[in-house]
């Protein structure tokens, strides 16, 4: 069974996310609780006076799957709803069918580097 990961809107004001880290490589097995990606939500453009406009999140897998395809790269800035990756529940499953559902994920705010361009 194929599962896809799309960028969820976990902050009501976000429209995109910047991909900071992608933890697994294509072909890697993901255990339950395995790290998938760290992302930055930067609201500076829409809320320049709101603090803190930049926050950091980690996406954690809640399914036992294999990463089969990455649709984003580090530094990319996909929009909410964009496909980030494709997973399968078997390691060598064909990729020609449509995803049966989205992968279950947990999301949490993480301590990120501060938004200091100088450091």
């Amino acid at each position: 069974m194929l599962l896809n990961l799309i960028l969820p809107r976990f902050n009501p004001y976000m429209s995109t996310a910047i991909i900071d880290v992608v933890y697994p490589k294509v072909g890697d097995a993901i255990t339950i609780g395995g790290k998938l990606m760290d992302v930055t939500i930067d609201l500076s453009a829409m809320a320049p006076h709101d603090c803190p406009p930049i926050s950091y999140y980690r996406l954690i897998g809640r399914d036992r799957v294999w990463l089969r395809r990455l649709d984003v790269a580090v530094g990319g800035e996909p929009e909410v709803g964009a496909s980030l990756a494709l997973f399968s529940t078997e390691p060598d499953e064909e990729l020609d069918s449509a995803p049966a559902r989205e992968i279950r994920v947990s999301i949490a705010g993480i301590m990120g580097r501060q938004a200091w361009p100088q450091f």
Binding site: N11, G33, P48, P53, M111, Q114, P117
Partner: protein, 465 residues
């Protein structure tokens, strides 16, 4: 048989406001309540600018309010409830209501209140209640007289003197989450004074550009003039001699930055204008701080060793010259929760060394997030407090409770209030509260001040929400 009530006019007179040897002057009134509107006793109905002139003229010698004189205002409350009527001539419009063109006459009547009274009763003029407001401009160029306390201030304050009891001063040194809590919806301290009775003085310091962390505040207290001069010379020399020519925004930042480093609000004392003349208040009887001003790292100057913090989004907006100076001269110094506790201890001890009775209040942090739905912590590196924002906030909140037991400080439990209100509806990005939540936090701050016996901060029995 019920008495027949008829409207009776109670004239509202300004009342005495004088300092021997000086002249109190004012602008025309700017009304906050319409002619004919029903007002309750204690409600602010108008405000005007005010100043204290020296005997030789407007600016011959610096007066007690010399650094606040362009944004010195008085908010006027009615002492009785009823229907408000404006006096003709009380307001003149335009600059006449902004500039101090009129002498303060105690018998000047600004209007009257229609109150329901038994037929045949006569009314004596009632003295209006005064809430004094003063803003110290970050620069005198910040000319914003559009309303009450509308300028760019590095310090704003309000006070009300009632009776002969002692006056207490509350000093707010937090981040933006204290802005509305302390200054209220109109940024003029109206709500906080409406909720208390007694002689009280509230001072608000904003966080731009320098965030008031405990270490920064402690360094402000002990920094000598010579040390400040060394910092100022180092900074200005670097700007003048740097590779990048400073632009206007670099100099504007430089001024605010140096001003912030030079001040020490915790040791400030303040002139107070009252019905009985000029008084002095401060240093503060109570200081309120914010855990949101304590990031897990500070910027430390490599050579001179002083520590500061500036919000990251402000750093993004800096001019090139200042930005380059930061990059070349500062390092990010990581801090643990224990380091922050140690900084708090040092600050509290410094404050109480000078004024042992000072009450310290610290706002804790919201420690849950609506965006978080963690069911398995395997994906987060230990220690969780160094990885997860919410666990970090819980670690810091716990540290505050240890500190409270150890140093007898009060924790303003914003975490609990936010949980009770519901963050989704009342808290934006874990910091910015809705109006109702600000009011609840304000009530909690006032409850703590009252319970700890801070003079002047006695809660009204029936506070109008």
């Amino acid at each position: 048989m019920a008495a027949i009530l008829t409207p009776m006019q109670v004239p509202l007179r300004l009342g005495t406001l004088e300092i021997p040897g000086r002249t109190v002057v004012r602008s025309g009134l700017r009304w906050l309540r319409e002619d004919g509107q029903i007002c309750h006793a204690g409600e602010v109905v108008a405000y005007c600018s005010i100043d204290v002139w020296s005997p030789k003229g407007k600016s011959a010698t610096p007066g007690p309010f010399s650094d606040e004189r362009r944004d010195f205002q008085v908010a006027i409350s009615t002492p009785v409830s009823g229907r408000l009527h404006h006096a003709s001539g009380a307001t003149r419009g335009g600059f006449f209501d902004q500039l101090n063109m009129f002498k303060w006459f105690e018998d000047f009547v600004i209007g009257h209140i229609d109150v329901a009274s038994p037929a045949g009763a006569t009314a004596e003029a009632a003295e209006v209640q005064l809430l004094m407001l003063a803003g110290r401009r970050t620069t005198e160029l910040a000319e914003v007289r559009s309303g009450m306390m509308t300028g760019w201030y590095d310090r704003s304050r309000g006070w009300r003197v009632q009776g002969d009891g002692p006056m207490g001063t509350l000093l707010s040194l937090g981040t933006c989450e204290l802005d509305g809590v302390i200054k209220g919806e109109r940024s003029a301290f109206l709500e906080i004074f409406e909720a208390i009775e007694g002689s009280a003085h509230v001072v608000f310091m904003p966080d731009p550009p320098l965030v008031p962390s405990a270490r920064f505040l402690a360094e402000q207290i002990i920094r000598t003039p010579a040390q400040f001069q060394e910092i100022a010379q180092d900074f200005t020399a670097a700007l003048v001699n740097g590779e990048v020519q400073p632009a206007a925004q670099d100099w504007l930042f430089a001024g605010a930055f140096l001003m912030g480093l030079q001040r020490s609000p915790i040791t400030d004392s303040y002139p107070i204008l009252s019905r009985s003349g000029l008084l002095e208040a401060g240093p503060a009887n109570a200081v309120i701080l914010s855990l949101n001003a304590e990031p897990m790292h500070l910027l430390r100057h490599r050579k001179l060793g002083y520590s500061i913090w500036i919000h990251g989004w402000r750093m993004v907006e800096l001019g090139k010259a200042v930005s380059q100076w930061f990059a070349a001269n500062f390092e990010l110094a990581q801090r643990s929760v224990a380091d922050i506790q140690s900084d708090y201890r040092a600050l509290i001890d410094l404050i109480r060394e000078r004024a042992p009775e000072t009450q310290i209040l610290i706002c804790n942090r919201m420690s849950t997030s609506e965006a978080e739905d963690v069911q398995n912590y395997a994906g987060f590196d230990a220690p969780l407090g160094a990885t997860l924002m919410t666990v970090n906030a819980k670690d810091l909140n716990l540290m505050l409770y240890d500190l409270a037991r150890e140093r007898d400080i009060a924790v303003v439990d914003i975490d609990a209030i936010a949980a009770e209100f519901g963050a989704r509806a009342h808290l934006h990005v874990d910091v910015h509260q809705s109006g109702p939540m600000q009011a609840e936090i304000r009530a909690e701050v006032l409850r703590i001040l009252d319970a700890r016996g801070v003079p002047g901060f006695v809660r009204r029995r029936r506070h109008r929400a």
